[in-house]
């Protein structure tokens, strides 16, 4: 098995020609992913960040970064994020109780996750909890995605801090062409941030793009 590191604790495994993305992790599987020795498979179909990395766009997330994660759900992506920022902290916000009960298992296992059950549209409600962060990662599939991002950036994003926004066309506007929606979102983000890249997540996630920005 060949191992190539692409980011701190993130590797591409080559198993007889089959490429597998994984994170180095001493923890057990969280969502049914396979373990290969000390590596936990990171499934692109389940995680948009994994899809982004497999599309060879690798944001330089540092091991000691503080992350604000919006839309944590049951923690699929957060579980891998926590492997990466092993010396940092993840403030994880989710507003739905159901998936968060599974998330709780993850939060109890890891030392670097702070779970927050709140609506990401109201960052002021958790403003006395969350630090200024190096990155805001957002995957909320919510009609007001951009608004959510801007508000949270206002409250918590450090100067020159970065943002990764997973944009789902259909939850913003189910009638418009995805391309059109993405252009609109990009234009709007441009007025406040530097847009570093826009990456299509096909074929892993249909009608989704990742937008990487910097303050």
């Amino acid at each position: 098995m060949k191992v190539k590191e692409v980011l701190h604790n993130v590797v591409l495994l080559d198993r007889n020609g089959r490429k597998i993305l994984a994170t180095k992790s001493r923890y057990a599987p969280h969502y049914g992913e396979k373990k290969y020795g000390e590596f936990r498979e990171w499934m692109a179909s389940r995680s948009k960040l994994a899809a982004l990395i497999l599309k060879e766009y690798v944001p330089e997330i540092k091991e000691d970064w503080k992350i604000l994660y919006l839309g944590a759900a049951s923690g699929t992506t957060v579980s891998h994020f926590a492997d990466i920022v092993e010396k940092g902290v993840i403030f994880a916000v989710e507003y739905s109780a159901k998936p968060f009960s599974k998330f709780l298992e993850l939060a109890m296992e890891r030392k670097n996750i702070i779970p927050i059950l709140a609506n990401a549209l109201q960052p002021w409600k958790y403003s006395g909890i969350v630090d200024k962060v190096d990155m805001i990662y957002q995957d909320v599939a919510h009609p007001e995605q951009v608004e959510i991002f801007e508000r949270n950036a206002d409250f918590f994003l450090k100067k020159r801090g970065e943002g990764l926004i997973m944009v789902k066309a259909r939850s913003i506007d189910s009638t418009a062409e995805p391309k059109e929606v993405f252009t609109r979102v990009k234009q709007r983000l441009k007025s406040k941030f530097r847009v570093l890249a826009v990456i299509d997540l096909e074929p892993y996630h249909k009608d989704h793009v990742a937008i990487h920005i910097q303050r």
């Binding site: 159901k98 998936p99 968060f100 670097n112 927050i116 006395g128």
Partner: protein
């Protein structure tokens, strides 16, 4: 001068007044404006080290989430169903009153008929609020059902099944007929008497445009397909609560196919 609410207490003029109940202050640390510092910068003074600070924060956060989840999971589907029932009552009342108002106005327009009309408008506003709340609750507790059929029909399915748990336990064939119990019962009793009987093909889900707008001959097919996906959706919603976008996508595709 400026006062900041943090999860572990209040900071005023740089001085910390620690809270005597962290779980409470954690849930009550709203600040209208962004703080000019990070809570951990102040916390390190109070807790002694960054490690101690984060481990205390983590413990409180976990305790709070546990408490809220326990509370929410028990009640939200009942709340949605009760709201839906109120919505039905409201609809009926509004229709009835509007009818009466029309009758009245034909005979005489008076101050009383004016205020009659105002009250009806008020009820309509209430109805909108109830609908919004149903939407908010149902899309939260049943994101997969909502993605497939929309919040109101999803709520209707919950109502007919009794709870999300019961809906999750139902086979697709039963979900397909939810809300058609009456006609099913009629058909069965006709059959027992040896008379010709027409069995219903769809219940609540017939309200959905994907079924309703198809030619008659294709509705049964669509309803069956939709019910199969709804059965999976209900289980996902009940057991994990995570959205699987493929379900609604498949339903949409099937509809496109049948429409042609």
């Amino acid at each position: 001068m400026s006062e900041y609410r943090l999860w572990f207490g209040i900071v005023k003029n740089g001085k910390i007044t620690p809270s005597d109940d962290f779980k409470k202050s954690f849930q009550n640390c709203e600040n209208a404006e962004p703080l000019p510092f990070s809570p951990s910068e102040v916390g390190i003074k109070h807790f002694g080290s960054l490690d101690a600070y984060f481990s205390a924060l983590r413990k409180v956060a976990i305790d709070v989430v546990k408490k809220i989840i326990e509370h929410e999971l028990k009640r939200e589907d009942r709340y949605a169903v009760l709201l839906l029932k109120s919505l039905d009552e409201l609809n009926e009342t509004i229709n009835l009153l509007e009818e009466k108002l029309r009758d009245l106005e034909e005979v005489k327009v008076s101050e009383v008929t004016e205020s009659f009309r105002d009250r009806i408008a008020e009820l309509k506003r209430l109805r909108r609020d109830v609908e919004k709340e149903i939407e908010a609750i149902v899309s939260k507790i049943a994101p997969n059902l909502t993605e497939i059929v929309g919040a109101v029909i999803a709520a209707r399915l919950l109502e007919k099944a009794g709870s999300l748990k019961r809906l999750a336990e139902m086979p697709a064939s039963a979900i397909q007929l939810l809300g058609a119990e009456k006609s099913l019962y009629k058909a069965l009793s006709r059959m027992k008497k040896g008379k010709p009987a027409k069995f219903p093909k769809h219940g609540v889900i017939f309200q959905h445009p994907f079924v309703r707008t198809l030619p008659k001959a294709k509705r049964g097919k669509m309803a069956r397909f939709m019910a199969a996906k709804l059965a999976i959706a209900a289980r996902l919603d009940y057991f994990s609560g995570e959205l699987n976008e493929e379900l609604a996508e498949a339903v949409r595709k099937r509809y496109e196919q049948l429409r042609r």
